[in-house]
């Protein structure tokens, strides 16, 4: 009798089998109807797979759904993490000097603390992201990468790199991007 009850119970429970989600890190979860999820452990019962809940109950698993690892997104996140932790990031004491509004005769650069910038030149304003590519504290030189950049092995590509030099008192910024072709540095004064 008891056996029949258990079988009946098992069958009735098996009619209410659930789908589980296998996450990229290998953990398994049941998604509840209210949108919440709980982690479970998979086990084999005969020819069926069951999901063991932490409260001691279990359900039969109908289907295991594997999630797709968002590779590109994770790599971008990893690059950003690396940058924020590295000495080249905008959070480094020297690199922070670039933050502000720098104005020259024919151009203006506005760098904010969140990695966004505005370039005003030839009557137009271009908004973009920026990163600190590198700097030399002794020479007061900083290299800024503008736009989306990506890394492939030893190669970094994309966007544009501008090179600047601070004055000794960090109140002036010299745009060195035209030094090799036009032999001049463009002086910018910090106005904000």
């Amino acid at each position: 009798m008891v056996k029949k009850v258990f079988i009946g119970l098992f069958l009735s429970i098996s009619l209410f089998g659930v789908d589980v989600v296998v996450m990229p890190n290998g953990k398994v979860a049941i998604i509840n109807k209210d949108g919440s999820w709980e982690e479970v452990t998979l086990a084999k019962m005969g020819d069926k797979t069951i999901a063991l809940r932490k409260n001691g109950t279990w359900v039969v698993v109908d289907k295991q759904i594997k999630t797709i690892k968002p590779k590109v997104k994770n790599e971008v996140v990893e690059v950003e993490k690396k940058q924020s932790n590295s000495s080249n990031s905008i959070n480094s004491p020297f690199a922070k000097y670039i933050i502000g509004d720098w104005r020259g005769d024919d151009r203006e650069y506005i760098f904010d603390k969140n990695g966004k910038m505005v370039i005003k030149k030839d009557g137009e304003a271009i908004k973009d992201f920026y990163t600190v590519v590198g700097y030399d504290e002794n020479k007061h030189i900083i290299r800024i990468g503008i736009g989306r950049r990506f890394k492939m092995g030893p190669f970094s590509m994309g966007g544009k790199i501008l090179k600047f030099r601070f004055s000794n008192d960090f109140k002036k910024l010299y745009d060195l991007s035209e030094l090799e072709e036009n032999y001049k540095e463009i002086e910018l004064i910090k106005i904000k």
């Binding site: 190669f155 970094s156 590509m157 544009k160 072709e181 032999y183």
Partner: protein, 394 residues
């Protein structure tokens, strides 16, 4: 290095082979260009948009620059030029071309292929490159800029001073229908030593004053100097004062020196830029112009078409207005009056008045230039030019 035999793929790969072990930063960019101009000239019975008096080109430029680490950098640029079939219907010629190997009015060339090394405050750049000195410079008026084969040393050890030492061997010239993949000696008169040697000192020690001095040696042809001052002051409105002087001294004693001086005053009022300038070039034998092309000059009064008249035995006065942007467009109007002497290249005493009206705007991310030029000569025929240039930069 013989550039003519290198394929495009080989050229583009050159800049990335040098420093495989270090991290390499590569930047790409370029532009797509559509260039059209049409002349109106009564003596040739040309009206605007007649095929006979019109020229055009389409072009694509890919530019790459790599920071190779350890102070090394390299750059390679490729220009591809063609007509997109315009010569069948709309135009009778091109602005620029490359060696015609297939009977087509187009081809490609490599205007830049260089390596640079920076040590401390000194950079040495060797190879094919753009230049910007008063007597040897890359001109931006045509589809693509001309370039030079040169070695250039740039040093900033002297405070507030940039020193430039250049040895310029070859140039690909520029002009209507110029074949741009042919680099020839800048100074053919020099024989075995056909380089142009230039030394420049650019100083900004005095606040608001830029002082530049250039000295040139063209072996067996001439020596030359160019000096310029630029000063900014605020007298209630911003005022810019500029002056320049040049002297070209031919090696041949039978030839006369050429002396030039010029002044310019500019200001900005309510967003409008206004300037007045005056250039005086005497009747010496060698004109004041770009030795790399023989076309443009660095005179204050240089406009779209008047270079032939202003570069020798000429006194030119120019008035220029640049408006602020209205509805996304900027208007430039310039009027130059040249009093020509009897040795003027455009004809003895053939005075010229040139009016340029230029509109610059941006449509769908593309920079558009529309220009109208009217040239009125005293002794030869007048002509009018319409020019449209669209550049999409990426």
């Amino acid at each position: 290095m013989n550039f003519t035999k290198l394929s495009l793929a080989t050229i583009m790969a050159m800049s990335f082979t040098a420093a495989a072990m270090a991290d390499v930063d590569v930047q790409f960019g370029g532009q797509a260009v559509l260039y059209y101009q049409t002349l109106q000239k009564d003596s040739k019975d040309w009206d605007f948009f007649d095929k006979a008096g019109s020229r055009g080109n389409v072009g694509l430029q890919i530019r790459s620059k790599a920071d190779l680490g350890n102070g090394f950098s390299a750059g390679v640029t490729a220009n591809v030029i063609g007509t997109a079939g315009l010569e069948g219907n709309l135009v009778n010629g091109v602005m620029q071309t490359a060696s015609d190997t297939n009977g087509d009015l187009g081809g490609y060339w490599i205007p830049e292929a260089y390596v640079a090394k920076t040590v401390g405050n000194t950079t040495l750049k060797i190879g094919r490159q753009y230049l910007n000195t008063p007597f040897a410079f890359s001109e931006g008026w045509n589809v693509f800029k001309n370039s030079f084969e040169a070695a250039v040393l740039i040093n900033q050890d002297i405070p507030d001073t940039t020193a430039v030492l250049a040895m310029v061997n070859k140039s690909n010239g520029n002009g209507l229908g110029a074949t741009m993949d042919t680099f020839g000696a800048v100074n053919p008169a020099g024989g075995m030593d056909n380089a142009v040697y230039a030394l420049g000192l650019l100083n900004k020690s005095i606040p608001n004053l830029n002082a530049n001095l250039w000295a040139y040696n063209l072996t067996s042809l001439a020596t030359a100097i160019w000096a310029e001052l630029g000063y900014k002051v605020d007298v209630g409105v911003p005022l810019t004062l500029a002056a320049h002087y040049a002297n070209v001294n031919p090696s041949d004693d039978a030839l006369e020196d050429t002396t030039m001086y010029g002044v310019k005053v500019g200001t900005k009022v309510n967003g409008f830029k206004l300037s007045v300038s005056y250039d005086d070039v005497d009747d010496g034998d060698i004109p004041i112009h770009n030795v790399g092309t023989g076309v443009k000059t660095k005179l204050f009064a240089q406009q779209i078409l008047n270079q032939g008249a202003i570069k020798k035995d000429a006194k030119t006065t120019q008035v220029k207005v640049v408006t602020p942007e209205f509805y996304g467009a900027k208007l430039i109007a310039a009027y130059a009056m040249t009093d020509a002497g009897d040795k003027n290249p455009m004809g003895a005493n053939n005075d010229l008045d040139e009016l340029d009206v230029i509109v610059k705007t941006k449509v769908l991310g593309t920079n558009i230039l529309l220009a109208y030029v009217n040239q009125s000569y005293d002794k030869t025929e007048d002509q009018d030019l319409l020019r449209v240039v669209a550049r999409y930069k990426f």
